[in-house]
């Protein structure tokens, strides 16, 4: 059972060093194609995608994060380690906030 990475060259290279698989992508179409392909692969348990591309495929990624456990889809920081667009804290505050 393995880990698959979709992201920039360095991220994929780094993960390959420790035995994970991955494909570097350079545009949204490639990212989307790799994502759908990876979802078909039953060996992949954890699917990592750098934020650059998860942001580009936001709706699809959000659905997958909610619905899928095989694989678990997780967003990771890419080469230019930027803070997440929506932090967990914000997310939770918004979820609970309606009530307060």
């Amino acid at each position: 059972m393995s880990i698959f990475v979709i992201g920039d060259r360095d991220t994929v290279l780094g993960f390959r060093l420790v035995g994970a698989h991955g494909t570097p992508v350079k545009d949204k179409e490639a990212a989307s194609a790799e994502l759908e392909k990876a979802l078909q692969n039953e060996d992949i348990q954890l699917l990592l995608i750098t934020r650059e591309w998860s942001d580009a495929l936001r709706e699809r990624i959000d659905r997958l994060k909610m619905d899928r456990l095989q694989p678990i889809v997780m967003e990771i920081p890419g080469k230019s380690v930027e803070p997440p667009e929506r932090s967990l804290n914000q997310l939770v505050r918004r979820a609970i906030g309606i009530n307060i």
């Binding site: 348990q45 954890l46 080469k79 939770v92």
Partner: protein, 209 residues
């Protein structure tokens, strides 16, 4: 005019609406209970999730710096070639439990580093070792973080949905039922009063005859 359900104001309708309102209230109570459980589960994970989110940046930053250094020393192709025979093996195991119908994952990553690097000693450089070490840290971090992040995400999304449903019941459906029931009751009372008046009149007319 208050927001009313589109029904005929009859006694039968009144009974049916009262019955339905009971059902709506039960649904509301269940959703409210679900909301409470989701908040509890969320809160119990929030602190850890926030810590991990902070750590995430450090791990990835260090790992990226290390891989860039290694790439500059050795070139991407060489690293790629080396990574064809990885020095680590790991196994990912995902299990799930269900909270209020929501599947919450638990992820285990079993990492087994092999003792001897498969590439020749002449190939190694300090930069590469460093990079491998830093990405191992990322891998270990993901073992902790992937299920926490996923769980918090799911709980938060489900909580938002549940909260909306509770709000909709509280602010729209339940008041609509209550208003309609009140409306029908007053209509029926009015009709009853009219009937009494008519009955009286009829009786009077009968007596005066």
């Amino acid at each position: 005019m208050a927001d009313l359900l589109n029904v005929n104001p009859t006694r039968g309708t009144l009974l049916r609406l009262k019955d339905e309102l009971k059902g709506v209230r039960t649904r509301h109570d269940l959703l409210d209970r679900k909301r409470e459980v989701l908040i509890q589960e969320l809160m119990s994970r929030l602190e850890k999730a926030e810590d991990l989110e902070q750590e995430s940046r450090d791990y990835f930053q260090a790992a990226h710096q290390a891989i860039q250094k290694a790439r500059m020393r050795m070139g991407s192709d060489r690293i790629d070639w080396i990574s064809l025979s990885p020095t680590v093996r790991f196994d990912v195991d995902v299990s799930a439990r269900t909270i209020m119908g929501l599947k919450i994952p638990s992820v285990e990553i079993d990492i087994q580093p092999s003792d001897t690097p498969p590439y020749g000693v002449s190939d190694t450089s300090a930069a590469l070792d460093e990079a491998r070490e830093k990405w191992m840290d990322v891998l270990r971090f993901l073992a902790d973080a992937s299920d926490v992040f996923t769980s918090v995400w799911r709980l938060a999304m489900e909580l938002r949905k549940t909260q909306r449903q509770v709000n909709a019941l509280e602010s729209t459906l339940i008041p609509r039922y209550r208003n309609t029931i009140r409306h029908i009751e007053s209509r029926l009372e009015e009709e009853e009063r009219e009937e009494i008046v008519i009955a009286k009149k009829v009786k009077e007319m009968g007596e005066s005859r």
